[in-house]
Amino acid sequence: MRSLLRTQLRLALSVLLLVVGPLAALPLVFTLAPGVRAVSVMGLPLPWLLLAVVVHPVLVLAGWTYARRAEQTEQQFVDLIERS
């Protein structure tokens, strides 16, 4: 049981680290390297492209991956218990 809890918590924290980490770094990057803000991609300034568009599909993908991994972990746990 404890190992299940630990595995799930590790999975949750790594998803958060991978998604929220870079997001949280953005304001700092914009402050420390103001030049980055002015970069323009396809006519949109980089901050707008990242915050208004790119972030959303990334969140959905992260959520989908997480849900699949969490289900796999649970299935392994069920198999383990039922074999014993």
């Binding site: 049981m1 299940l4 809890l5 799930q8 918590l9 999975l11 949750a12 998803v15 958060l16 998604v19 929220v20 997001l23 949280a24 304001p27 700092l28 914009f30 402050t31 103001p34 803000r37 002015a38 300034p45 901050p47 707008w48 915050l51 208004a52 568009v53 972030v55 959303h56 599909p57 969140l59 959905v60 992260a62 959520g63 989908w64 997480y66 849900a67 969490a70 289900e71 649970e74 299935q75 746990f77 069920v78 218990i81 039922e82």
Partner: protein
């Protein structure tokens, strides 16, 4: 737009909402139907309902208004509103569903086996709920005033009346259908005009809104360290506050099991992703076609006014009516969800415990109905008597209080076995008093400058760590008070339903 068109749009949404509610009424009979729709709702319905309930006045009107007025820094609002769902998904969705609790107070009682924590959590549900209802009602007043010229109180009273009728007659079951309908209405109402308006903008030669200067176009352009603090504090509040919003959590109990709760949340993330692409479009176009709204302090009305500004005649009228209908759907759906949650807390922990003689004691359903009326009366009174904060800022404060109280309770309760009732109470009080105090000071005096103003307007960055620290320290100091059934509760929270295990005998009331 002519007032008649606005009235028709508002009346239509209200009538359809009540009609779907009445349809749900026929299948809603028992107390558990009232709270959680008997957990028999499919995942897409449920995800639409969650989305419908979550996309409030702040998302529909407020975000576009803030982008119009302040530019790139405000893009963090929609990002935070969406990311909050990812955090909720990975940290609480499945375990919370498996706990079998209907509400946060139920969860607190099941996990910590303490009626004191339960009652404190109920009190906080009411506070957060009222704080979040306030901007919904004020937004309704603003909307109706903008499209019909009616005085501000009319819209607030109208929304309150429709919500009370709906909640009192059908409870959660009817609310689930209404909410699901509202999501699709809100999406259509924002998407269709946005497409048309972007085409008009292209016909006009695609002018750039950037002429407003770099302060609007680029984030953190002022170089003021309080801006950076406010951005981070907003991130903390929205990322961690979403899981603590009472009307969001109650939805998770309508999933059949923990796995379905996760899958539903992923669908919700998709629905939110589509929706949140749109408000920045309105904010940016507003910069070109309606910049005067900012100076007049009416930036929140941009979504409503833009179609009429960019299109003449019937086209502008029809699209204006559509966004008005969407805005009303936003007020109705979020207010309904909040009212159900606040009424649940009030009826279970206050009204059914009144020291009345046995024959006059209130039954579950009767208490719920009375509580629903009470739940709306208080914020309505406040909405009618205070000066208006920007819609999204007051919603931001509700997120900050939720993040400073329920987030530590849920996260530590689910993942940290040594949490004790004493630690939980201390943490809830510390986080609640700190963030609640900041809210009171901001509502009393909204325009404080400098660091004090920033710390109060966006308190989450210091109140959330405080709450976590107090909750951890309180639990460390009272190791003997770990709930006796904690091991069984942890099994219940984390073990897949497929396993036949001892999950304890706790049942929600």
């Amino acid at each position: 737009m002519s007032p008649a068109v606005g009235w028709v749009a508002v009346a239509l949404v209200s009538v359809v909402t009540l009609a779907i509610g009445a349809f749900g009424l026929r299948i809603s009979r028992t107390t558990s139907d009232f709270y959680v729709a008997s957990r028999s709702v499919g995942p897409l319905w449920n995800a639409s309902a969650i989305g419908g309930e979550y996309l409030s006045a702040a998302s529909f009107l407020g975000v576009a208004g803030l982008v119009l007025a302040f530019g790139a820094d405000m893009l963090w609002f929609p990002v935070g509103f969406a990311t909050g769902y990812l955090v909720l998904l990975v940290l609480v969705a499945a375990p919370l569903r498996r706990s079998g609790a209907y509400t946060i107070p139920d969860f607190a009682e099941a996990r910590l086996e303490s009626p004191v924590v339960r009652r404190l959590a109920s009190g906080l549900v009411v506070v957060v709920g009222w704080l979040y209802l306030l901007p919904q009602l004020q937004g309704a007043g603003l909307t109706l005033g903008t499209v019909t010229g009616a005085p501000a109180w009319v819209g607030a009273v109208l929304v309150a009346a429709v919500v009370v009728l709906n909640v009192v007659s059908g409870g959660m079951r009817s609310i689930t259908f209404v909410q699901a309908f509202q999501y699709w209405l809100k999406l259509t109402a924002l998407l269709v005009p946005a497409v048309v308006l972007v085409l008009v903008w292209r016909r006009d030669g695609s002018p750039s809104p950037a002429t407003a200067g770099p302060g609007w176009l680029l984030p953190l352009a002022g170089g003021d360290p309080t801006d950076l603090y406010q951005t981070y504090s907003l991130m903390v509040a929205t990322f961690l506050g979403t899981m603590g919003l009472p009307h969001v959590l109650v939805r998770f109990y309508t999933n059949p099991d923990g796995r379905a709760a996760r899958r539903t949340t992923v669908i919700v993330l998709g629905l939110l992703a589509v929706f949140y692409l749109l408000p920045p479009v309105y904010g940016s176009l507003g910069r070109l076609y309606a910049p005067d709204l900012v100076a007049r302090g009416r930036a929140d009305a941009i979504v409503l006014e833009l179609p009429g500004r960019m299109l003449d005649g019937l086209g502008g009228d029809l699209l204006g009516a559509l966004v008005t209908a969407g805005a009303f759907a936003a007020f109705l759906s979020t207010s309904s969800g909040l009212t159900v949650s606040v009424a649940g807390a009030l009826s279970q922990d206050v009204l059914t415990r009144l020291p009345l003689p046995r024959e006059r004691r209130l039954g579950g359903v009767a208490a719920f109905r009375i509580a629903a009326v009470l739940a709306l009366m208080v914020p309505l009174a406040i909405a009618l008597s205070t000066q208006r904060l920007a819609v999204a800022s007051s919603v931001g404060l509700a997120f900050a209080v939720a993040a400073s109280t329920f987030c530590p309770l849920l996260v530590l309760g689910i993942w940290w076995r040594p949490l004790t009732d004493v630690g939980a109470v201390a943490g809830l009080l510390a986080g609640g008093l700190a963030s609640g105090g900041a809210v009171v000071l901001v509502i009393a005096e909204p325009d404080r400058a400098g660091w004090l103003g920033a710390l109060l307007a966006q308190p989450a960055a210091w109140t959330v760590p405080t709450a976590f620290a107090v909750m951890l320290a309180g639990s460390w100091l009272t190791p003997g008070r770990v709930a006796p059934g904690v091991d069984r509760t942890m099994v219940r929270l984390h073990a897949p339903e497929a396993l036949d295990l001892d999950r304890g005998s706790w049942q929600p009331r």
